[in-house]
C-alpha cells in the first residue's frame, strides 16, 4: 500500500489552462515537500510546507497543506510548456525518512 496517494497519475493540458494535483494520506506528517523531476534528472525541491492550513506561493504555483496535515495540493495557474514534468510529493517520517508518492506526470502542450 502507498503511504502517499497522488492524483491524477497523468494530466495532459493545453498551455494557459489551470490544474490541481493532489497528495493524500491517512497518516499525519510533520511536514511535506513537493518536487519536480524532468526526464533523465533527479527531483528538485519546489517547496516545503510545515504548518496545517499553510499556503505557499511560488510564482504561478500555489501549495497548500491540509489543516490536519494529512494532505496537500499543488495548483498551477496558466500552465506553460516549461511546467511539463513529473510532480512528486514527499512526506518526512520520523525526521530521518522520506516517503514519496507515485507522482503526477504533467504534459503541457503549446
Amino acid at each position: 500500500t502507498q503511504l502517499l496517494e497522488q492524483s491524477p497519475q497523468f494530466l495532459s493540458i493545453q498551455e494557459g489552462e489551470n490544474l490541481t494535483v493532489y497528495c493524500n494520506s491517512s497518516s499525519v506528517f510533520s511536514s511535506l515537500q513537493w518536487y519536480r523531476q524532468e526526464p533523465g534528472e533527479g527531483p528538485v525541491l519546489l517547496v516545503t510546507v510545515v504548518t496545517g492550513g499553510e499556503v505557499k506561493k511560488l510564482k504561478r504555483l500555489t501549495f497548500q497543506f491540509g489543516d490536519a496535515r494529512k494532505d496537500s495540493s499543488l495548483h498551477i495557474t496558466a500552465a506553460q510548456p516549461g511546467d511539463t514534468g513529473l510532480y512528486l510529493c514527499a512526506a518526512i517520517y520520523n525526521f530521518n525518512k522520506f516517503y514519496f508518492g507515485s507522482g503526477t506526470k504533467l504534459n503541457v502542450k503549446p
Binding site: Q6, E41, I92
Partner: protein, 118 residues
C-alpha cells in the same frame, strides 16, 4: 560546488553479478540517502545514513548493502543482481537550502544511475 555526483551513469549487469554504485557529495551534509525509481513511479528509499559510520534500512533494503566510512561518500552495493533490481538509482544528501535559509532541510539529488539486469 559539484553537489551530489553519481557514477556510473549507465550499467548493464548479468544476473548474479555484483557492482557498487558510487555517490559523493561536497556539501558536508550528514544525511545521505539511496532511492530507486521504477518507470513512471515515485522514489522508494533503500538505505539512509545520518552520519559517518551510521546507516539504516529504508522501505526496500533487500538485495542491497551500504557503508558510510566518510561524510562525503555513500556507496551502494548489489551483491547478486536480479532482474527485479532493474531501475534508476538516485543518491541524495540532505542539508540546509543553499539559496535561502529554511526551517527544514532540502534533499539534493544526484543525476542517477540507470541499471539494467539481464
Amino acid at each position: 560546488n559539484a553537489g551530489v555526483t553519481q557514477t556510473p551513469k549507465f550499467r548493464i549487469l548479468k544476473i548474479g553479478q555484483s557492482m557498487t554504485l558510487q555517490c559523493t557529495q561536497d556539501m558536508n551534509h550528514n544525511y545521505m540517502y539511496w532511492y530507486r525509481q521504477d518507470p513512471g513511479m515515485g522514489l522508494k528509499l533503500i538505505y539512509y545514513s545520518v552520519g559517518a559510520g551510521i546507516t539504516d534500512k529504508g522501505e526496500v533494503p533487500n538485495g542491497y548493502n551500504v557503508s558510510r566510512s566518510t561524510t562525503e561518500d555513500f556507496p551502494l552495493r548489489l551483491e547478486l543482481a536480479a532482474p527485479s533490481q532493474t531501475s534508476v538509482y538516485f543518491c541524495a544528501s540532505r542539508g540546509r537550502d543553499r539559496a535561502i535559509s529554511l526551517s527544514t532541510d532540502t534533499q539534493y539529488f544526484g543525476p542517477g544511475t540507470r541499471l539494467t539486469v539481464l
